[in-house]
């Protein structure tokens, strides 16, 4: 069997979950409306703070605004909840079917989870780009619009980095999935994961605006790989050799979380008791 044959079940699992989630159009539209509103408030608050700034800020206002719109568009990328399908499969006992398939259990769930995340992120991100990068400037609100990247190279790096962010996010959601499978309950884990993820990914505020003393730690923690590193590449703050180092950091987190998840899933599955009939 060549590698293409071997990858086929995972590609199919990804595509099936991706296409299934794309059906939820009204959920995407409702989420988009909420995020526009939310982004708008954040932009106005940032503009007010910048207008009265006594010290110079680490990033100009237009970058903070672009960051805000993109972070809102990438909201569904954040790993704050396990894939509900996994929790359901564990609770109903349907997980037994997955155990019978002659495929790698981790890779199968990983492919599905990636599809689940991608299908929720891409439509919202596209709508957000349409709204903040096209409609706002057309309406004459250029100051509050999503601006272009700092050149073609920065844009390409950012695109690559967002792809990696999707893979890293899926590897984190896999850890949540496994914890859900082990504990049979996802609500407790979700309640604690949400605040941590919102602050440390950069969704709450661009990480550069948090206190200067924290900056090194903030950049080196894994959640920065989801929003903040792609944004730093987009603005060209990480360029040349540093850009590659940013991507390398994302790859490092990806390898670490996939390895940890793979090991943890093996252990959980050996101890899992199938219930139901």
């Amino acid at each position: 069997m060549n590698w293409r044959e071997r990858l086929r079940p995972y590609r199919a699992a990804f595509a099936a979950r991706f296409l299934q989630m794309l059906q939820y159009r009204s959920a995407a539209l409702a989420g988009f409306a909420t995020q526009c509103w939310w982004g708008g408030i954040k932009v106005m608050v940032l503009a007010a703070f910048y207008a009265g700034a006594q010290a110079s800020a680490p990033m100009p206002l237009h970058q903070a605004i672009t960051y805000t719109w993109l972070a809102q568009g990438l909201l569904a990328l954040l790993p704050w909840t396990a894939d509900p399908e996994v929790a359901q499969a564990v609770r109903t006992g349907a997980v037994a079917y997955d155990r019978l398939r002659p495929v790698d259990a981790y890779a199968l769930w990983y492919a599905r989870t990636t599809g689940w995340i991608a299908a929720r992120v891409l439509p919202r991100l596209a709508l957000m780009a349409l709204f903040a990068a096209v409609l706002l400037p057309l309406a004459g609100w250029t100051d509050w619009a999503w601006r272009a990247s700092a050149g073609a190279a920065a844009g390409l790096f950012a695109l690559l980095s967002m792809g990696l962010a999707l893979l890293v996010s899926a590897s984190m959601v896999m850890l949540l999935n496994i914890a859900t499978a082990a504990a049979l309950n996802e609500r407790g884990i979700n309640a604690l994961a949400v605040p941590v993820v919102i602050v440390l990914s950069g969704n709450l505020l661009p990480l550069a605006l948090l206190p200067d003393a924290w900056q090194t730690l903030l950049l080196l923690q894994p959640l920065a790989a989801l929003v903040d590193i792609p944004m730093r590449l987009y603005f060209g703050q990480l360029a040349g050799g540093q850009a590659w180092r940013g991507l390398g950091l994302q790859c490092f987190w990806l390898a670490l979380f996939v390895g940890a998840g793979h090991a943890a899933l093996g252990r959980t599955m050996r101890r899992l008791e199938i219930q139901g009939g």
């Binding site: 409702a30 608050v45 703070f49 010290a55 605006l209 206190p211």
Partner: protein, 267 residues
């Protein structure tokens, strides 16, 4: 049984039900406390970075923030029944059962599932309010305490009115609409900063369409003893929370129209 005792009994039953699972209730409360408290991090970090917000200091913004979060926490606990009306009552047909009981509908819904976990947001709001009191040196005299309670009641009525409208929409859509979050959670987000920092169209929206400014901005100005940078006279804050009750009244009128339109879907 009178209206108030009935409500208290419904609320008590709901709370006792949750108290059967103390660990779960505690965890959800702590989760709410943390999840709603992250906004504090944003406000604090921005003040740490920029010093002040167009003449407003951290302590003053903390008073706006704390009061708005308390309002929404109470309304959110009372309005849960309206929030889940589409999924839990209309689609399942349980709504028919409420209609058969010879007691006010809205009362039954308000007593339905009074969430203990909302205490998380309430405590968070009270703590920030306490911090703001110390930082901004708020002078709590009988009349300012009275005004704060009046504003709290008006704000709770306003947020409850938004939840009632959300429930009313469900009579047409038979599902609970996420879009209302724009006004509930989004309203909290907007009203936790002084209104004066926003663009003019947004200020008008928050004053005349969804009168958040009337229950938060103007009364807090009076409590802080600050003049309005936009030039509203000082007495406005003492009267404006009434707008919250008016909003709730209009919401109930829309609700009645929705109930009249209702046809059962369940079996």
């Amino acid at each position: 049984m009178g209206t108030l005792p009935l409500f208290l009994r419904l609320a008590g039953a709901s709370l006792q039900g949750q108290a059967r699972y103390p660990a779960s209730a505690l965890m959800l409360t702590v989760g709410q406390f943390l999840a709603t408290g992250i906004e504090v991090v944003a406000v604090w970090a921005l003040f740490h970075r920029f010093g002040d917000l167009g003449g407003w200091r951290l302590g003053e913004v903390a008073v706006f923030y704390g009061l708005v979060n308390c309002m929404f926490a109470i309304a959110d606990a009372l309005g849960r029944g309206f929030d889940v009306l589409g999924t839990e009552f209309l689609r399942t047909g349980h709504f028919d059962r409420l209609l058969l009981r010879p007691r006010p509908l809205t009362l039954q819904l308000m007593g339905h599932d009074l969430r203990i976990s909302r205490l998380g947001r309430l405590m968070q709001g009270l703590m920030v309010l306490g911090f703001g009191t110390v930082q901004a040196g708020v002078d709590w005299r009988p009349e300012t305490v009275g005004l704060a309670l009046f504003a709290l009641a008006g704000g709770t009525a306003l947020f409850l009115g938004i939840l009632v409208l959300q429930g009313t929409l469900a009579f047409w859509t038979t599902e609970s609409l996420e879009v209302a979050n724009v006004l509930t959670y989004g309203g909290v987000e907007a009203a936790q900063y002084p209104l004066a920092i926003y663009a003019a169209w947004f200020r008008r929206l928050l004053t005349f369409a969804v009168p958040l400014a009337c229950v938060a901005y103007y009364p807090v100005l009076a409590i802080l003893g600050r003049g309005d940078p936009l030039g509203a006279p000082g007495w406005v804050g003492w009267a404006s929370p009434l707008a919250g009750f008016a909003f709730l009244g209009l919401s109930f009128m829309a609700w009645k129209a929705g109930v009249r339109r209702y046809t059962s879907t369940g079996s």
